[in-house]
Symmetry: T
Subunit: 147 residues, 12 copies
């Protein structure tokens, strides 16, 4: 089982950007930790980060044939990228939306996700542990345990 | 470590109510399965369901001193019970909000949670597996692994 | 054929409360009159009034197995109780919504019912005679005359 | 006692138009059935259907002097004809608004009636049986049984 | 100089309809009085009333070539007839909008006129005397006194 | 009979300010012309202009005892001065609102008057001739011809 | 193959009405030209124009049985006639909505069409050439080339 | 003279709950202090707190006959309980709404009270001293000093 | 201890203006009564009324150094004077907002106060007795009894 | 005459993506068919598809000098890319907006195009045949037949 | 070259008022510094501050003939004084709007300026240095360097 | 001191694009002029323009370590790119937002900037001279003169 984890704009700055909100671990640290976590659970995890909406769409299209599932933290694209929404709606592998912070306790514009209506489920507020929860969920979904 | 799982109105009908949305397992089945899952992970789980807003508030108040964490699926109270919101904001143990369905792909009124801004995090769209994800998250939070 | 008539908050004050809007008959008077009307039409009518949202939800759940139909005047719950809405949507017997006054000619907040989208039909503006109309309608529905 | 039943635009297509919503009976069938129902209840029913807002207004004006009550299904005029609203507000005989379908469970624009605030009461969701309920209600109102 | 006075839906009921708002004079009385007032001021006044939006549009089209100005009280069409608005915008003679009552102190929906942006000016709140004011205004406009 | 004409902020610039909208006559020219028009119609007209909301309120209070009627062009105060609105509502002499331009065909914020609901009537779009129409109307009102 | 082209209110004034928006050709000129264009493409075109909403609805009902398709330019009815919308939704022949001007670059109220959700497709901004495009489209649809 | 003081949901946590907003005194402390204050002013004060909307409604109904006035701090019910609003509107003893904090300087949802339109008056922002102010006000009202 | 009581626009008309809302006592009567009430409670009360927003702002600035507290009834400025709001936010003595009537049961525009978020507390609905309540509250605040 | 056809995000998935909405032909199939259609009509068609907003903007800039017209299906960018809107407004060749589906009968967010106000015209709902209609329209426009 | 700098309500409190937002320099200090800065750049600066909307309007009118340009910080009038807006629109010398703080990162009501649409340009967020930037800009504009 | 000037989408067309709004100087001309202006003021200016949101975000990230300040004209991204907003909020060097035109006097959608809340300050309406003002401001900020 292999899963792609996509991180959207500005998430490459993790550890540096507003650490009181996003924590002090860098994206590399998090990915390293997740990679090991994946191996422990029999899942091969690949990682992709981009600040370019178009690259994320291209990647989602490609992932449809090469991965069993996708975990996406769309960053600020969450709130306006109907193009990423359509890309997710166009593919057939399950997609889970993750946010590090609790987006519902922040600025008004962060309360609304244009992505949520087309994903399998949403997990937010658990920092980088949220990616692990999403991996657990994808394993359950892909193994088809009758969720 | 002991955790309280609170289910709000109409969730006692699980298995009977709109099974295409909520699945065919009864709440008793789910709780039984979760109880075992808790034991496997070293957590004692207690369960509480009520169709009465006031009883849920009372329970949250009591739980503050007797549990390490709370998982709540507020059902339809999600969308208007500012009283439950205040109850959660008034206590100090961590609270996680869970929804069985993806509330963002259903009727408009279900897109907005008055509870979300005061919980630690939200998990939705994974059926009853969402409660297990919430248990994982609470273990991580309570053990203080630096989320 | 037996039908349950549920009256929501403050309807126990009928006759005393704002009589220029709700008339001078008490709820007991009305129920007495309806009981007889039911008998004349071969229907056994039971009555339930509560100011507690949770009790109304419990009652709706129980009614699903013991009645052929439900008539509900949700009182002020009409305008915000998504929990009662979900209870009605969760059961299979037909439900009819009744209001004594014409809610569309009163304060703005009374113009919108969160209950209406899930009931069979709505009757409003005919005072206590509206319950009789609802009984007629339920007989027609339950007898399956191809409405 | 004589009552006028007015049907608005497109209701002449009943039986042909979207039968999953409006049923398979033609307007002629329904009127025939209602006529007999009226006779059984000692009421003479007349019928008027038009796709022209102006003709409906003219008819309402005339009906004020020649009928004891009016039952109106304004069709799509329900949602924007303030002119019909004013016509109803200008006359003194009681008017009842009827809709075949439950307008509150359909498209958003159908949830709002500009007519409702000026009628005696509203009945919706009971198919053509709604006209019979309206006849019952008008008899009660006209006989002045203290509704 | 000849001027056409157009009255919209339900204004044929003047004197009968809600006299506390619209006064007790019939439309015929008013027109008679206006006719004389016109003669005194050297203006020939013609009158047209209809409850049919289409007839009013047709009349406006015809009036463009046969009158020096139009006074219109669009009744309830004021609030939604973009078709009448377009008709007025399509012609070249000056048009004045008159309302008997002060539409800004009545129901919310009456506060907005879709006609106002395309007329020369608006006069409201002066009862039938408003038509006379409009005649004065049209004389001033048509005589081209540099308003 | 004596009438006070109040002009609000920036109307002292008439003739200089945006002449394509407001014309080329100065306020002094207009007042001179109106004074004569008043005399011809047996009315003594007084004039007051101020850019200070408070002075206009003070003047309205004083006018209640010394004038038979008030004509007010509140300028930009039209759109937000609830204090002037309350002043007008507090007095008993009739008040007429006048605007030189057709406020409904200009910027959005000019479409809404907070003054209109409390005046006798509104006249707009006729340039300075509107004041004359208002004088005619006040004569009619004060003489009590049963408007 | 025969097609009906319906033009709504004020389109009879084409050539005279705001020629900078609608062009200088009269409706007769356009129809003449379209008639010939139809013949060249093997289609018999009939034409209907009315300023009366009710007549347009009647015509749509009749056209359902006598034409293979309808092209409609609803004029100002575009923005509020839910009755015409329902008429179109009630019939089975394909309907195409055409506007001469680009309605999206004009006043706000013209941006929203209540008709669009129930037609096959919409064409706007191409002047009278839009009718020809609609004829091309109907030929394609009726010939069933798998659009 | 006897007065009932009703406290709504979560107010039983006073002293523990967000003390920077609500102060450090427990509800028992406050009530003790108020009781003495009442005695000093010749008023018998009774106290009722509940997290159950239904119990508060029941209590309001009962209080109508046994108290001279009611002071209510509806807690979060302030913002959505139209049922409590109707209960207050249904009784005849004067009711005063009190809030400990200044609800207008907190979250948006707290700015709107559905209760306020039906109470005698509102007092907010003075901590527990607000209850004393309300007692003063009720004495004045009940003694009928011509407020 | 000395306190300034500021009354905004049109409050100089008290006793004359809409007595069914504001009572029959003049502002002078009320101030006289309050003055005595102040003396009885060891507080020197000064009074200021103005219809000029600017004068009220100037007064608030001056009061910051010469008074222990301010009571303000901003009249209609309540609803739009962000300048008075800023003046209050700029000073350090406590300010209490008072309204004679219950502003929440009147016209929509009166429900919203731009002043409330920056005052210590708000009192409304108790007629002129509200000023006395505000004096009590200021004594409590200034004496620092730990509100 | 040469024309550029630009397709926006996710249109490269045509034939695979939601075929019940977008049909089963791939973009390559459609382009092949259009190329031939262009040749038959004496027009050279070039094609460009991208999921990158920036690439589409760059392409529009370049096309201004090398093409006689542009046909654009902006995909999801339709609903938020003010940058593409500005690009189109910045060039001088005519641009036509095409949508495969009827965007007005789908989700709410698809009803609003930020592109429409700056294009020549819009065509939607005709599947891939819409591109052919746009080619016809551009030929008419470029040949300057006085549309 | 001479320029008038107008400061609106509460700016006389600079240095005292909320120094974390507005800094610790008094308005006199700032003006002193600006005066010198003006002299260094060959510009005579005059200063005017008022808490009275009417005085600011009067000053703007006078400035039209005696200054080459105006810099205005309208304080809270920014958000509602359409009268100041009209005053600015009525004169011909260039006007620049300055705000000390970044109004877009403060309370919602501060995000909207009714003044901005009629000024030459806006500068905000640079503290008192913003006035110097505005002086630079006015020099550029008045010298007519083809901005 | 070195500063980066970032220009967003379509600004590469300056001089060609809508010159009545944006002037006739090309971006190269402006940059040349600014470069010299920078040198005169002891600042090294670098320039970056892109139509790609992702490239602008990448550039902002890089600039955080290599520049003392950033000036950004986000073009149309101003109105929806929450991703650029987050990029700016993530870095520590000061950022100033510049617009050539007065965005508040243009189309509605241009009145709202999602960027403004996170920049140091905003300058708009001064054409290309605005960049010079921003350079002045950055010098002041970076030199830390206590703005």
């Amino acid at each position: 089982m292999n899963i792609l984890i996509i991180n959207g704009p500005n998430l490459n700055l993790l550890g540096k950007r507003e650490p009181h909100i996003y924590g002090t671990k860098s994206l590399e640290d998090i990915n390293e930790e997740l990679k090991k976590f994946g191996e422990d659970n029999g899942v091969k995890l690949d990682f992709f980060q981009s600040n370019h909406e178009g690259e994320i769409i291209d990647k989602i299209h490609q992932a449809d044939v090469s991965y069993n599932g996708i975990i996406i933290n769309p960053g600020a694209f969450t709130h306006y990228s109907y193009a990423i929404r359509d890309a997710i709606a166009s593919i057939s592998v399950p997609v889970i939306e993750v946010h590090l912070s609790n987006i519902f306790s922040r600025e008004d514009f962060r309360h609304h996700s244009v992505i949520s209506p087309v994903v399998k489920g949403q997990i937010c507020g658990f920092g980088s542990f949220g990616y692990k929860l999403a991996v657990y969920a994808l394993i359950e979904i892909i193994d088809g345990n009758g969720m």
